[in-house]
Subunit: 430 residues, 2 copies
């Protein structure tokens, strides 16, 4: 066995170091599997003076990432820089040069995935990104390959570990959002600027990637309806629990009447659902397919070694394809589905109102719902005097109708404040 696949690594933070570690530790095994030794020949880093304690000679490090992509002694590019601009330029250049790319860059793939996939197809090389969604959990390959002969109808995922950690602590300790977020930041489970996580941006990127593959269509991150968990209160969680639900930040992608709907928002999920038991910072993806039925994939969504494991899995595939000159399979976007606007969503809603505690209030609230063709499934009032609260769960209603109903409630003299509005996914899923 004389063959060597020479790897150019772009970025060498936690994930890049994980990749180098695994490639070194499993070198003989990987050579046996791929038919070639996998050797990291160049590594682009911002600061070449740091000793990273990795089993690589000092001369492989450079601060010029484009030189790595273009180097004659690089056959395969692994991109773990992250972000869109520089990473996008480098990935496009590699594909143009006919060099396959393995990336963990969810932001890049979520925004430009279909275009990059097309560039890869044109270049006759692979673009692999298992690590971009849900870390170590194999979900891209099952969607792209195992379920390729089936018809996926819905994918529901817990796609962000930070928010799942926060919601788990809130649920299990009755704690307030702000307190748990501070604690998570102190422990390093949440970033100093947590917007990307708690605002649902990270989950929306992953939902776009999943929806594109699941429905063979083109969904960009900007197409995903998105709400974060910042407004979820201890009261919401307590009400949910009393009704038999947990609140999870879900990414939901579904195909309805030949349209695709993709959304990320905090959701009332029945406690008996397999996703409801996914605690702490774990991720999970639940898939419904016509023939396969219900499937779930569960694991670590982040971390240097889990993400490194997913990258090395991709590197093996890509290296084999390179040796056999047989790239693919390429993702397919041939079905080009129309995106369903969020206003046309049909689901159930939980509405929490601060109301005046006086006769006729319930009647007026009920009339307002009826006027907007939103039917009430459950209602009860709590507290009295200054703290009267009305909890309502609706039957399935159109999001557009619910929104105008909420506007009318806010304008109503009987309602002091619409405190919470959250979507409820019961047994009838849409």
């Amino acid at each position: 066995m004389d063959r060597v696949i020479r790897i150019g690594l772009l970025g060498c933070g936690t994930v890049g170091a994980g990749v180098v570690t695994i490639l070194d530790r499993e070198a003989d095994d990987l050579a046996a599997r791929t038919g070639a030794r996998l050797q990291v020949t160049r590594v682009a880093v911002r600061d070449t003076t740091i000793d990273r304690g990795l089993p690589l000679p000092a001369e492989v490090f450079t601060d010029d990432p484009m030189a790595v992509v273009e180097a004659d002694d690089v056959d395969l590019v692994v991109e773990v820089i992250g972000g869109r601009d520089l990473a996008g330029t480098l990935v496009r250049r590699a594909l143009e040069l006919g060099k396959p790319v393995v990336t963990a860059n969810k932001e890049l793939i979520a925004h430009e995935g279909p275009e990059l996939a097309e560039a890869a197809r044109a270049g006759g090389v692979d673009l692999a990104y298992e690590a971009a969604v849900a870390g170590a959990i194999p979900i891209i390959k099952p969607l792209k390959e195992s379920l390729a002969g089936d018809r996926v109808t819905r994918v529901v995922g817990i796609l962000n570990g930070t928010t799942n950690y926060i919601l788990t602590r809130m649920t299990e300790e009755g704690a307030a959002y702000a307190d748990v977020l501070s604690e998570a930041q102190a422990l390093g489970f949440a970033e100093a600027d947590p917007t990307s996580d708690v605002g649902g941006h990270d989950a929306a990127s992953k939902a776009a990637i999943i929806a594109s593959l699941a429905f063979d269509t083109t969904v960009h991150a900007a197409d995903v309806f998105r709400e974060g968990i910042e407004q979820v209160s201890a009261t919401d969680i307590e009400v949910a629990s009393r009704l038999g639900y947990v609140i999870k930040l879900l990414g939901i992608a579904s195909e309805i009447d030949d349209e695709v709907a993709v959304r990320v928002h905090p959701t009332f999920l029945p406690k008996a659902h397999p996703l409801a038991g996914v605690r702490e910072s774990f991720n999970a993806v639940y898939v419904e397919a016509e023939a396969a039925g219900e499937l779930m994939f569960y694991g670590r969504g982040a971390g240097g070694m889990p993400t490194g494991s997913a990258i090395v899995g991709d590197v093996i595939d890509v290296a084999r394809n390179l040796l056999q000159q047989a790239p693919g399979p390429f993702p397919s976007s041939h079905r080009r589905k129309r995106l369903r606007p969020i206003e046309d969503l049909q689901t159930q809603y939980y509405v929490l109102l601060d109301v005046e505690d006086e006769p006729g209030v319930l009647a007026e609230v009920a009339r307002t719902f009826g006027d907007h063709t939103v039917s009430i499934a459950q209602v009860w009032q709590e507290g009295s005097g200054d703290t009267a609260q009305l909890v309502l769960i609706t039957h399935r209603a159109r999001e557009g109708d619910l929104r105008t109903c909420v506007d009318a409630l806010e304008a109503s003299s009987a309602v002091r404040k619409v405190t919470s509005v959250l979507r409820v996914e019961s047994e009838v899923w849409e």
Copy 2:
């Protein structure tokens, strides 16, 4: 696109009909993905006179399966006959002829998998069997490909839907084994002769297949230590529940000190473990890997359409490889691990004893455990007079020591009967 891959189907029961249905329904989509139309040209059945209501012309059916394998107009063989003798002969012949094989035959793969894989490698063609383990759940491909660069340390699976259904009903209704089995048979969830399921034979076959792939070694079905659920009583389940456990029939494959241990038996599993929530006839496979950490795969373990979905996923892979003349990846058994005998297993045990209700009994029982270097973690006595029962949970002990301890207990005058002995998997997994 003129290319056609011609499929010979061996067997056309529920699963075979599922395959034909999916191939027909998704024909255009499959052609777009593979680059060739997938056409079923020959089908071997026992009785060619039955109208199966499938979208196939009558002349494709024959009662000569070898003629299908050898036919000039068959490029790829799908085997869903089941059993070892005939199926084995047909699969070997196909591989010898350089025709790739997709099979759902767990029994065949569990007994002859490594040898058949070698025949496939020699023939330069693929042998794919995703459908042989856990139906629609992609587990073979993740182990063989996604985790190929990682090091799997343990795989734990709920691999048989019938026994999981029975244990779920026993747990949730407090019902007796025999009653639930009769009910399951009446509902068609259990076979008239349930031995293969309740005796753990089916799960042991799947555990052997999983262990071979997870540890790159050769494990045959006969190498798997096996106990069924026939002896699990309502009392065992109730005691387990009180202690925070559920009883599941688990297949457990682990690598310890360069040896591989594979076993199937009813197990006390902590209620908080992700596998504990897998109810009814669902299957799930839990994987621990060095870099990836914990992963779980969940879904339907059986049924015509779920199994058909897994087969078609394999057919797509194999068809692509056939078109590109690039078979593989082949499973690797290059690590050839020694099998650890069950006597060397170290785990915790639950022991239920019928004892005489008189002074000195507990002391004698405790001394017997101590004499065999089995340390007791928890003990209590229930009932009195004729019905006194002693419940014991041990610390981790060697299986060989526990067995001689149980023999001594049975010979002891203080013990009327050793009612139950079950293994307990707590937080410290081995």
